[in-house]
């Protein structure tokens, strides 16, 4: 029963973890999402793992009410975890190929599907991207913190009624 209730509450939540676990710390987001996937109270959350954001993710984003994007970041110190709200970008920005920033993804979602979810990005500072599996110690610690932060954000959305579909 508890699981059914959780599934219903979480039905509008989409989590996208970006990264490549074969590239060291780039697998940080994958580790975060895998940890979240195992949580009973997060039943019903849709989790997607991807190496980059692509136009296809707009379709899934348009069907969600809450979107949490988790990614490794070179803009923060290794293991440092940050959370920021993200909105559809004002301009398209420079697009070289078919991969997108979170802002561009939301803009694409809005333009193509007419709606966007509430969205946050959780970033885990990372530094080692050489070929190989496993996270550096600082980033592994950051993953644990990122899982807590992500859970707190999901709880906040649920409390605010944002996630209910």
């Amino acid at each position: 029963m508890k699981c059914d209730a959780a599934e219903q509450a979480n039905a509008g939540v989409l989590i996208i973890g970006i990264g490549n676990p074969l590239r060291g710390d780039d697998g940080a987001a994958v580790a975060v999402v895998m940890a979240l996937q195992g949580e009973a109270d997060l039943a019903g959350v849709t989790c997607v793992l991807a190496q980059q954001l692509m136009p296809e993710h707009a379709a899934a984003a348009s069907e969600a009410t809450c979107l949490l994007i988790v990614d490794a970041s070179v803009e923060h110190a290794p293991g440092e975890v940050c959370c920021r709200a993200v909105r559809a970008s004002e301009s398209g920005g420079t697009l070289f190929g078919h991969h997108l920033t979170p802002e561009q993804l939301l803009r694409l979602t809005e333009a193509a599907f007419g709606r966007v979810p509430a969205a946050m990005v959780v970033s885990v500072g990372a530094a080692e991207f050489a070929l190989g599996v496993g996270l550096s110690p600082a980033v592994a610690h950051g993953v644990t913190e990122a899982v807590h932060l992500a859970r707190a954000q999901l709880a906040a959305w649920l409390d605010d009624g944002v996630c209910h579909v």
Binding site: L22, Q51, P55, E56, A58, A59, S91, G92, G93, T94, L95, F96, G97, H98, L100, Q104, R107, L108, A111, A112, F113
Partner: protein, 476 residues
């Protein structure tokens, strides 16, 4: 003092990977030469040495995140040859099903996400809006169709192999798991909608293609040979056919070459200025024996597609573009025809009763020291050639990928486009985009051709012979 100048477009955008174009101008500002450089480096042939052959389909799939299925297919076929086994009929059908799903999603990516911004927003449009986001704003239905078609292809790959990218399902001797009736039915349910999108798109394309007369005329529009695999009766065959070459007049000059004999017809040259190799038709020598591969070449070499809707479209295409179609702008049209053919063949495959048979893998120890696997990847002919020792460990590998085959044609095409559109006195976005758009016709995958990671901003420089920057454009 020499007034010779060079224009560099680096990187070329909206392609898979990173390349660079240099346009060498003479003292009058007219084009003297053009080159398409590949600035990435791949080491796959070297670092697989010593690994067991059974790992190859999964390892080689890592060459590319766009067409991993094609690499695992070619690799598995090379391994089949090393085992000297004939794989079960159902395994062939299942491999074909995944291979065509990959073709559909890859062609959809090329057409909808990478090319349609040029077609719908204009070659001269501001690059800030000439992309998928701009497309979503101006033509949301087109983008939604692209997303849906690509997703359908990816979902079929995931249903068969367990995940969308790098599934480890294609193995030496067949496939790892059979298809059950439930997943077969799910696949079958997706095909009608995909066909609806494909037909709507090709009908639309035929209404706009005439607007691109200047591009059709100058986008690698020259006589050349074409190469691709064909099946029995000369039918379009992307999974398992013999190599066929046609000349510039469409005459078959070589036919039915089995994979193991590819080196009797294909040579490989190298140049100092690119990490990509330059394959050529061996009997004609280098560089005279340059040829094109990919969807356009496949339609030029085959007699028929072998499915009703695609054959109807092929007739119309040939009426409009000629046979062989010489302009590389027609790669786009050819992709749409191949999507239709792919969906028709996929329907036939899921309708066949033995598609759910459980006998899907032939098991054997290595029985040969050398094996070759060839498939038609979305971008063209893909060759994996392996040698092993007595323990089944890799001692040597050679890969020839689609973008490599097209290397010479792309460089010559860039020169033709630049002659038509580039004014050497001042850089303009539209003329440079046309150089890039020509490259995009071939949908090159430089990650496959070399393999590297990273991204650079676009910088275009106009320099004189002394290296002084006369003009510059930047993106990003």
């Amino acid at each position: 003092m020499s007034a010779t100048r060079t224009i560099t477009i680096d990187p070329v955008t909206r392609i898979e990977g990173h390349g660079k174009i240099t346009l060498q101008l003479d003292e009058k500002g007219k084009l003297a030469d053009a080159r398409f450089h590949v600035t990435q480096f791949r080491g796959f042939e070297k670092f697989v040495e010593g690994r067991p052959l059974t790992e190859m389909p999964s390892v080689m799939a890592r060459i590319c995140g766009i067409c991993p299925v094609s690499h695992s297919m070619a690799s598995a076929k090379a391994c089949d040859a090393l085992l000297a086994v004939e794989i079960p009929v159902t395994a062939v059908k299942l491999r074909k099903l995944m291979h065509l799903a990959q073709l559909v999603q890859s062609h959809a990516l090329s057409f909808f996400h990478l090319t349609s911004p040029d077609l719908l927003l204009g070659m001269d449009a501001d690059p800030a809006i000439r992309n998928v986001v701009g497309l979503a704003q101006k033509h949301p239905e087109m983008l939604k169709d692209g997303i849906a078609l690509r997703r359908l292809g990816q979902d079929i790959i995931a249903l068969l192999g367990g995940k969308r990218i790098h599934p480890a399902w294609v193995v030496a001797g067949g496939v790892a798991e059979p298809l059950d009736a439930e997943r077969r039915d799910k696949i079958a349910q997706t095909l009608p909608r995909a066909m609806e999108i494909a037909r709507r798109t090709i009908d639309w394309y035929k209404t706009v293609v005439a607007k691109f007369g200047a591009e059709i005329e100058s986008f690698a529009n020259f006589p050349s040979m074409h190469m691709g695999t064909v099946g029995p009766g000369g039918l379009l065959e992307q999974y398992h056919g013999g190599l066929r070459f046609v000349d510039a007049a469409g005459k078959i000059v070589t036919d039915g070459v089995p994979a193991a004999d590819y080196q009797t017809v294909i040579g490989e040259a190298v140049e100092k200025w690119s990490y990509m190799k330059f394959p050529y038709y061996l009997p004609a020598g280098y560089p005279a024996g340059f040829y094109r591969v990919g969807p356009l070449a496949r339609l030029n070499v085959c007699d028929r597609c072998g499915t009703p809707l695609a054959d109807r479209e092929l007739d119309e295409f040939r009426k409009h573009a000629g046979r062989p179609a010489a302009s590389s702008f027609h790669f786009h049209w050819a992709r749409l025809i191949e999507i239709i053919n792919g969906l028709e063949v996929m329907q036939q495959l899921v309708d066949s009763p033995d598609i759910v048979d459980t006998f899907v893998r032939a098991r054997a120890r290595p029985n040969r020291f050398e094996g070759v696997g060839i498939v038609e990847a979305p971008r063209g002919t893909l060759i994996h050639h392996y040698k092993i020792d007595r323990n089944g460990q890799m001692t040597w590998a050679n890969l020839i990928v689609a973008t490599g085959h097209n290397n010479l044609a792309i460089s010559r095409g860039v020169k033709q486009v630049a002659e038509r559109f580039v004014d050497g006195t001042k850089l303009r976005e539209g003329m440079l985009n046309r150089c890039e758009a020509l490259v995009r016709c071939f949908d090159p995958c430089l990650s496959c051709a070399t393999h590297a990671l990273g991204q650079m901003a676009l910088i275009v420089e106009l320099r004189d012979a002394q290296g002084q920057v006369l003009d510059e454009m930047r993106r990003g």
